[in-house]
């Protein structure tokens, strides 16, 4: 038996079907460049924690108050959304003629993504609670070592007919100043609205995936 050579994957991670569906077209288009598409729906602990949080409540997408949360209902909703996500993924992959797979995780989204991603994989995740139509493509040039990422960002911008904006930053050097630089970079990324798609390679920026997902409100395309 021989190991199959690793093939770069596009991992579309989400905690809800709405997030996954919003980024599915982008993920499929990137996978069509020659990658495998993998869908990952995570039963997020933070979401489940809402069920026990004092005074927590639900507001339906149409703006109506949805009452308090119930863990059982929430879990059943996760399972239902996972099934629909898997079906949507298969359909989109079929149309684009790309190979697709799906898994259901539990824990924290960032941790699940990090665990699922291998070298060369590209993680796509929609951060923040709100979604908006794509208005710009943003490339984080700091810590960029993968020459393919700018190419992908540019191609995405052209395909979506949206502007490509590059934002810089101080490359990490290992000192105390790096933390401040990282915080500054995180602040900058936090200003990106839900209509932005961020292309970044985090490994050499000093930023953690969890921090980025917590602070940003845009769709992130991150090199693992």
């Amino acid at each position: 038996m021989t190991d199959r050579p690793h093939r770069a994957r596009i991992i579309l991670g989400a905690t809800t079907l709405a997030d996954a569906a919003g980024a599915l077209a982008l993920a499929t288009a990137l996978a069509a460049e020659g990658s495998e598409l993998h869908g990952l729906l995570v039963e997020d602990e933070e979401v489940l924690a809402l069920c026990t949080a004092q005074g927590a409540c639900i507001v339906a997408p149409a703006g109506r108050a949805g009452g308090t949360l119930d863990a059982g209902r929430l879990r059943r909703a996760f399972i239902g959304e996972a099934a629909r996500f898997e079906r949507l993924l298969a359909e989109a992959a079929g149309r684009a003629a790309v190979r697709a797979s799906f898994s259901l995780g539990r824990g924290r989204l960032a941790a699940s993504l990090a665990a699922a991603a291998g070298p060369g994989d590209l993680m796509i995740v929609a951060a923040g609670p709100f979604r908006a139509p794509v208005r710009e493509v943003v490339l984080l040039s700091a810590g960029l070592s993968d020459p393919a990422l700018p190419v992908l960002a540019r191609a995405t911008a052209e395909r979506l007919r949206r502007p490509l904006r590059t934002i810089g930053g101080i490359p990490p050097s290992g000192g105390a100043a790096d933390a401040a630089a990282a915080a500054g970079m995180l602040d900058t990324l936090g200003t990106l609205g839900p209509g932005a798609i961020l292309f970044a390679e985090l490994s050499r920026t000093g930023l953690s995936l969890e921090d980025v997902l917590r602070r940003t409100r845009c769709t992130c395309v991150l090199r693992a």
Binding site: T16, E46, Q54, C57, A60, G63, F78, P129, A132, R214
Partner: protein, 811 residues
Amino acid sequence: MADVVSGRPLDSAALAGLNVADFAFASTAALEPLEDWPGQDRALEALRLAAAMPHAEFNLFVLGTPGSGRRSAARAVLTEAAQTRPVPRDWVYVANFDDPRRPVAIDLPAGQAVRLRGGVRKVVNDLATEIPAIFESEDYQTRRRAIDEAHEERNEKAMSELAERAQAKGVAIVRTPMGFGVAARHGDEILQPEAYRQLPEAERAAIDAAMAGVRGELEAVLKAIPQDMKAQRHEVEELNISMAREGVDAALAELIAAFAGQQKPLRHLCAMRQDMIDNAELFLIREDGAQAGAFPVATAKHYRKPQFQRYTVNVVVAHEPGGAGAPVVEENLPTLANLIGRIEYQSERGALVTNFTMIRAGALHRANGGFLILDARQVLAEPLAWDSLKRCLAGGRITIYSAGERFSLISTETLEPEPIPLDLRVVLVGDRLLYYMLVALDPDFARLFKLEADFGDQMPRSPESTGLFARLIATHVRAEGLRPVAAGGVARLLTESLRLSDDAERFTLNLAALSDILHEADHRAAEAGAEAIGPAEIEAAIDAADRRAGRLRELSQEAIGRATLLIDADGARVGQVNALSVLEIGKTRFGRPARVTARVRVGTGKVVDIEREAELGGPIHSKGVMILSGYLAGQYLPDLPMSLWASLVFEQSYGGIEGDSASAAELFALLSALSGLAIDQSFAVTGSVNQFGDVQAIGGVNEKVEGFFDVCAARGLTGRQGVLIPVSNVKHLVLRERVLDAMRANRFRVIPVATVDEGIALLTGRAAGARGGDGRFPADSVNALVEARLAAFAEARRRFGAGPAGTEPKP
């Protein structure tokens, strides 16, 4: 015709049928064609009145026998009248954009319907190219993007600000599968219940208030999104409409200008303009097929695409702008649909669907403004056709519906096209019986068809009319492309036309029958290499037609020749006479002798008609027998009770007998039986009698004479043989040449008789005898013998009724 003396054989030379005209022309090539129809002045007057009358309901029924030229005359008169009328307006059906089930009918000046259709097609073709170009233009994309971005920014800003405010207040907004979760946060994590409970009450209250605030704001932001999207769609629609309006107005400008002065087309173009603007997305539907076709997109016929069907101009009636007057339409298959038009359907996934483009015109549409010629019998035979025709004429408009719809047989989507005003003259062509039945039975008919054009079947013979007849033949052969007819040929045709009308003084106006002869004669002339049709060709054609139709006649003659049917042509016999009948089967009409016999005995005055008793005699035949009973009762022994029992029969007759033309023969047989005088079997008799003993005219005299002649000729003409005919039938004699030849050679006789006495004298060779001053007939006369026999019967009856001596006779 020379004076006819009854009781004496006719001189063949005196027969009117022989004395045809001496024409002054060599052939019909020298004759001027007729522009009218001879002998049809009354009918033509009615036709011209119908063509000229402006008022509705003065429709016309042309009645006459087939072949009388009634249809061709109607066509010619109406065509002539139509040329003086204006060309009618065109009619189109277009979509009703407000109510697609009720298509709109639009009338336009002649030639404008096709122009409108072409104009609309061009507009659709242009817009199919221009609208996509407009919506793909940088201008549109920029304006559209500006709208989208303005709304997106507004929403995004509201959400971002809410997210920031929530974060500042220590409240987390988390997207969950069930919506947005709102909870207090501690640092980057959700505040757990234990931690919350350990907080001071004031802090807990602050957290609660913050959560409530964020939740309220979140609800407000989310609720505002649909409203904003609606506003965004509205702005986009406004943009689309304004862009589409520019394109549509530019494309339609030329067409609207062209129809500026016409209210209905203009109204439709305006409605179409608005529909195109409102539904501009129809022009953005792309089909790979069209794009990938062999022809450039610019030349593609976009108007044929299904989405543009709504803009089709369905031309139902179109006329040439400089056309030759009003239309004259003949509909030879006047079904309901062919008359009033129809709505076609097509199957789509098993369902029948239709739309205004599937409305088809009928004859009423095509003839509107002009004339419509229909065969009355066909209209009446087609289901619902007569009813629909009357409805249209009475209502003055054409309403399209189907038979299935009328009977509720179809339950599917259908249309109610706007009725089209109707202004035309309908001309029905039919026979007289049909006309009289319609007048009697259909109350609408007389109201809607106020005019009648009655085409005569015959024309009185005179030098003038004979000349017209020759010109009629000349006109016909020219129209039919036949050879001219030589003067002799015309004369022979004239004789035949007299024969066809059964009258030597009137020729038939049935041109169809003469036309058949002419065509066959022309063929024979062609085979003979003749330049004109001569009398020989005409004669040959007539003979050939007789021969073709003569099988039954020959079989009948054969049966007599072989003595299967017993007919005597010589000798004498008591109570037996040769009567004559005419058989008419299909196109064959021939005379045939039949033996009539009578037997008598004492009785109570009853003459038994065996035909009637056997239910083989028709009512007119029975009437004839009753009349002869009346004759006997009045002629003999008026003071004594009629004490006769007699039976009369057509021997070897197994079919029905109808008509009274044998009543004279039956009376002669009866008189022979009573008198005991034998009847000369060399004679045959035809004629009816009245109660006074007058012999009256009958039909088919020529065929009857020829029928007995052929029997005699087969057995050998003796010169004694002949036929007694009513003197009033002499003018109807147009006998075949073989009979006339025999008459000229005194080998066959045709003897007109005026009375029964004259006839019985000829048949028995004894004078009938007139009652003298003493009230008695001369001794040994026929009548004396008859009366004596009847007196003997009365005496016998009296004696028989007296019973034993001394008793009173019984009634």
